[in-house]
């Protein structure tokens, strides 16, 4: 094992990078240095986080690489970080996507490069910190601090309605998370502990659990987002710059799912049991409704945003099935969606950079001019649909297998959503890529360049890798998930 504080280094390396960049004076010549410094910092973070995976002990269900020291003297609040099977891939997802985001914004961010890079580095620190926290208050601090850089990223570098979108994003998520703060304090009052590890169990009376569950639900349902709390998402996605959408879809939505697994399932098992019908209903509505809405969209980004809500519906179904297949499926679906939707947003970014529009009508026949682009786009599109061999399939398949144990109505709903997802994605693909070029402006559009290849090819490889060798990812998380399921079943059996 490693005897130096690896997790803390991973968390704070981007922050240190940000501090260094803060002191570079920005002008025409140095902005390229700022970009390189950011890229190298994020790449370094990614390589370090790979060590986490390589050194990970698959036979240990609880936290590894733990670091703990007392922070506040007056109550049991610790700086306590560590990684288990559930958070491992969330951290990897964050560290993997951030350098790609930096590369994706290499040329199209022209104003305020320094602030942009600072925001991204700060965002990376808080994202990793949030997934690595084993202390609820620490988790909360990171959870809310995510809002600051994301607000700035949408608000400064976003599209026309960016101000509306950034406010909606901030206030919506803040409203959810302040209720979580109250829940955290109530938990602390009842147990005198803030340790996630300790609270995984059944410490609260039934009625307390119900209220706590609702408070956490408010926070995570907005974040993930579940229907009907999803309305901030299309706005935020459409208005955010490409890299902002990538992080939003790739990592920030996963915070909700991660929270559900850790808090709702792990800490409030009886209340979870009580609310499962609610979650299932909302999820099925979300899958069917948002798929239909996605079908009607004319803006590519908005379509992908709505498809995210539908995919997250599958995730919530998987989580609240609380069985091995369901949870593994949900985790796989989250990882897969993190890669696929990030890649789809990057693909949209590619053509947006060239044509500065995201209207589906505008495009058509891109395959004639951009064969390589058409190929990678297809991989991601199929990944989103859930074709066997891509990452999307594993998650959806596992969730549906798990759902059969629960109720066949849920299976029907989920499967219907999956069919609809094939409909809207293939329809989108057909309209953009196939056919002949009818729009003259597209006549001399260029295929993806080297930088874009560097961004998209690793994503394409990992989508396929995930689809062919799912055990590579499922093995590390299996025991941690089993632990949660066992606790859950013990709590509900008595």
């Amino acid at each position: 094992m490693i005897d130096w504080p690896l997790v803390s280094v991973i968390i704070f390396l981007p922050f240190i990078g940000a501090l260094i960049i803060l002191f570079i004076k920005e002008d025409e010549l140095t902005s390229i240095n700022i970009k390189w410094a950011t890229l190298l910092t994020t790449l370094g973070t990614f390589i370090l986080s790979l060590i986490l995976w390589l050194q990970f002990d698959y036979s240990n269900p609880s936290y590894q690489y733990e670091e703990k020291f007392r922070w506040f003297d007056d109550f049991n609040f610790f700086y306590h970080v560590g990684v288990d099977g559930i958070s491992l891939f969330m951290i990897l997802l964050s560290t993997f996507l951030t350098p790609l985001c930096i590369l994706a914004s290499w040329n199209n961010i022209k104003k305020r490069v320094k602030e942009y890079m600072l925001s991204f580095l700060f965002l990376e620190t808080v994202m990793i910190g949030m997934f690595a926290s084993i202390d609820i208050l620490l988790f909360y601090i990171f959870f809310e601090a995510v809002l600051i850089p994301m607000y700035l990223i949408i608000g400064i570098w976003g599209g026309n309605r960016r101000i509306y979108a950034s406010f909606k994003f901030f206030l919506y998520t803040l409203l959810g998370s302040v209720l979580m703060l109250i829940a955290i304090i109530v938990m602390y009052r009842n147990t005198s502990s803030m340790s996630i590890e300790f609270l995984q169990g059944n410490y609260f009376s039934y009625n307390t659990q119900l209220f706590l569950w609702l408070a956490f639900f408010a926070s995570f349902a907005v974040k993930i987002p579940m229907w009907p709390f999803h309305t901030w998402l299309p706005d935020a996605h459409v208005e955010a710059p490409t890299a902002g959408s990538v992080i939003l879809a790739g990592v920030l939505l996963k915070m909700g799912g991660y929270g559900f697994i850790r808090f709702s399932l792990g800490m409030l098992p009886e209340a979870t049991e009580f609310f499962i019908p609610l979650i299932m209903t909302l999820s099925i509505v979300a899958i069917v409704y948002t798929s239909l809405v996605a079908l009607a969209q004319t803006d590519i980004k908005k379509l992908i945003a709505y498809s995210s809500v539908a995919h997250m519906g599958i995730v919530t179904i998987g989580i609240f099935l609380v069985n091995q297949q369901g949870l593994e499926g949900a985790m796989m679906q989250m990882i897969s969606h993190g890669l696929v939707s990030a890649a789809l947003f990057l693909c949209v970014g590619v053509i947006y950079d060239r044509m500065h529009t995201r209207e589906i009508e505008f495009y058509g026949g891109l395959v004639q001019r951009m064969p390589l682009y058409a190929t990678v786009f297809m991989i991601f599109m199929l990944g989103s649909v859930g074709l066997p061999g891509t990452s999307g399939f594993i998650g959806e398949f596992l969730v549906i297998v798990g759902a059969f144990k629960f109720s066949s109505y849920v299976v029907i709903g989920a499967a219907f959503g999956i069919i609809l997802s094939a409909v809207y994605m293939l329809y989108l693909y057909k309209r953009i890529i196939f056919g002949t070029i009818t729009n003259n402006k597209l006549a001399d559009i260029l295929d993806i360049n080297t930088r874009e290849k560097i961004i998209l090819i690793p994503l394409a490889i990992s989508v396929i890798l995930l689809g062919i060798f799912p055990n590579l990812f499922l093995d590390p998380m299996r025991l941690s998930l089993e632990l949660i399921i066992t606790n859950y079943e013990i709590a509900n059996a008595k």
């Binding site: 922070w71 506040f72 003297d73 007056d74 109550f75 305020r112 602030e115 909360y140 601090i141 809310e144 601090a145 809002l147 600051i148 607000y151 700035l152 608000g155 400064i156 960016r162 101000i163 950034s166 406010f167 901030f170 206030l171 803040l174 409203l175 302040v178 209720l179 703060l181 109250i182 304090i185 109530v186 602390y188 009052r189 209220f211």
Partner: protein, 478 residues
């Protein structure tokens, strides 16, 4: 008990009072630079007073006819008020010189007002409490109207005076009722007398309500907040800064002591009043601030909102509540010092910044200033990892300890509403395109820069070493 006559001068209040007179004479006899020199002297005097308060462990003065009391809570708030006063004198110096308001009386007024606040915080008797309140208020009435040739300043002074006098009258009436029904003016005696009864009689309830109304005026809690926005707006910016930073500290300490000492056994009676004041202040502060276009009015409503949160901790009425109040008050003071240090140095076309919309595009011309303002705003909104979050966090811990769930949920909801107007300022600076680029300039003196950097440092770095402040506030007894 005062055996040695020289020891009298080492009692902080007496030292401050006598030094204030020395400052007055000093300013009177100076021909040149009277304002600047007096300000410097005033800062020096206040620094010495802090040292005296800090080392004044037994305080003979406190025992004098039990007019004043002495406790760690009192000392903490005294030091807080003195620090706030020092900071606001330093940051306002250049502003006064800038608007050519060079009366050397201004720092003296601040000194007397600070003296009044120290007495207010320490008072243990209705009479001394009233006199102390009047001492600090009278100095502030004059300070509000100090810019004699400005109509708005005079208006705000008069408004403040009339409403202040009204509230003092109500307060005094309440005192007389309490005295009439308990036969004592001393907090401890009142508490002892009341401990024999299970419930308050009608006269005492009236007395309590009147005193609460008077105190609510002083802390500007809704619905007795009407003077605050107008006075903030009309007074010169630096006086507004003083209003925002210091008197609140004393008034909050006083309302805590008044509720928790003489009426500690009648929690149910006064907590209803405080509960209402708290909820109303939080929501009105949050909602009314949204529509403001004047930065001073916005800060007035923001301070009303903050008072609402501090009153939550009072409703909790436990040790955690006292801790929460002191941490919150500290963070409130730091944040206000920082924001006023910036506002008093920002000029738009040679006028000091008033309109919020003038902040448009500030991030292009002054990136560091706008970053600082953003941090302060996020901290005021209670977004972690800044100090403002921990203030709110401790308040909610105290409230939930007392099972005030509904109040806590209302509190966090109000904080979401208030986040909107804090974010609006960040939006103006960062998201909006600037029409008036280049005409905003930021000139700050070396001393103000130190104050500003120090308070920003505390706002940002509190999270890295919280134990210092938290251990102090945890040890406070009222």
């Amino acid at each position: 008990m005062l055996n040695n006559i020289y020891n009298i001068f080492f009692i902080p209040e007496i030292f401050l009072a006598s030094s204030s007179f020395v400052c007055l004479l000093f300013g009177l006899f100076l021909k040149k630079n009277a304002f600047r020199q007096t300000s410097n002297l005033a800062v020096f005097v206040l620094l010495l007073t802090i040292l005296l308060v800090y080392y004044d462990s037994e305080s003979n003065f406190a025992n004098y006819k039990s007019l004043f009391s002495h406790s760690s809570f009192i000392n903490f708030f005294k030091i807080l008020a003195l620090l706030g006063s020092i900071a606001s004198i330093i940051i306002s110096k250049d502003y006064f010189l800038g608007i050519k308001l060079k009366n050397f009386e201004i720092p003296i007024l601040f000194l007397f007002s600070t003296l009044g606040m120290m007495l207010m915080i320490a008072s243990n008797n209705l009479m001394s409490m009233y006199l102390a309140i009047e001492l600090q208020s009278l100095s502030l009435y004059v300070a509000a109207a100090i810019k004699r040739d400005s109509i708005s300043s005079a208006e705000s002074g008069v408004k403040y005076f009339i409403l202040g006098a009204l509230s003092s009258g109500i307060l005094l009436y309440g005192f007389s009722l309490i005295y009439g029904f308990t036969g004592s003016m001393n907090f401890d005696d009142i508490s002892f007398y009341l401990s024999k009864y299970d419930n308050l009689n009608l006269g005492l309830i009236f007395g309590l309500v009147f005193v609460m109304v008077g105190l609510a005026f002083k802390v500007s809690a809704v619905p007795f907040h009407m003077w605050t926005p107008d006075v903030y707006e009309g007074a010169p910016n630096s006086i507004t800064g003083f209003f925002a930073i210091v008197p609140k500290i004393a008034a909050v300490a006083l309302i805590y002591r008044f509720c928790l000492i003489p009426f500690e056994n009648f929690y149910l009676e006064w907590s209803q009043i405080i509960l209402f004041l708290s909820i109303a202040s939080m929501f009105l502060g949050a909602i009314a601030a949204i529509a403001q276009s004047n930065i001073k009015r916005l800060l007035a409503y923001s301070s009303i909102g903050h008072i609402g949160y501090i009153l939550i901790a009072l409703v909790a009425a436990n040790d955690d509540g006292i801790k929460a109040a002191s941490i919150y008050m500290f963070s409130y003071m730091i944040m206000n010092v920082a924001i006023f240090a910036i506002l008093l140095s920002l000029k738009v076309k040679n006028e000091y910044l008033i309109n919020i919309s003038d902040l448009k595009g500030l991030s292009k011309s002054n990136p560091i200033v706008s970053l600082s303002i953003s941090i302060i705003m996020l901290s005021m909104a209670g977004i972690p990892p800044f100090i403002g979050f921990f203030g709110k966090f401790y308040v909610f811990i105290a409230a939930i300890e007392q099972e005030l769930y509904v109040l806590s949920v209302l509190g966090v909801l109000a904080s979401v509403i208030s986040a909107f107007y804090y974010l609006r300022i960040i939006k103006l600076m960062y998201f909006d395109e600037s029409k008036n680029e280049g005409i905003i300039n930021f000139q700050i003196s070396f001393q103000s820069k130190i104050i500003l950097s120090l308070s920003l440092f505390l706002i940002i770095c509190f999270i890295f070493y919280p134990s210092l402040l938290i251990n102090i506030s945890a040890s406070l007894t009222i």
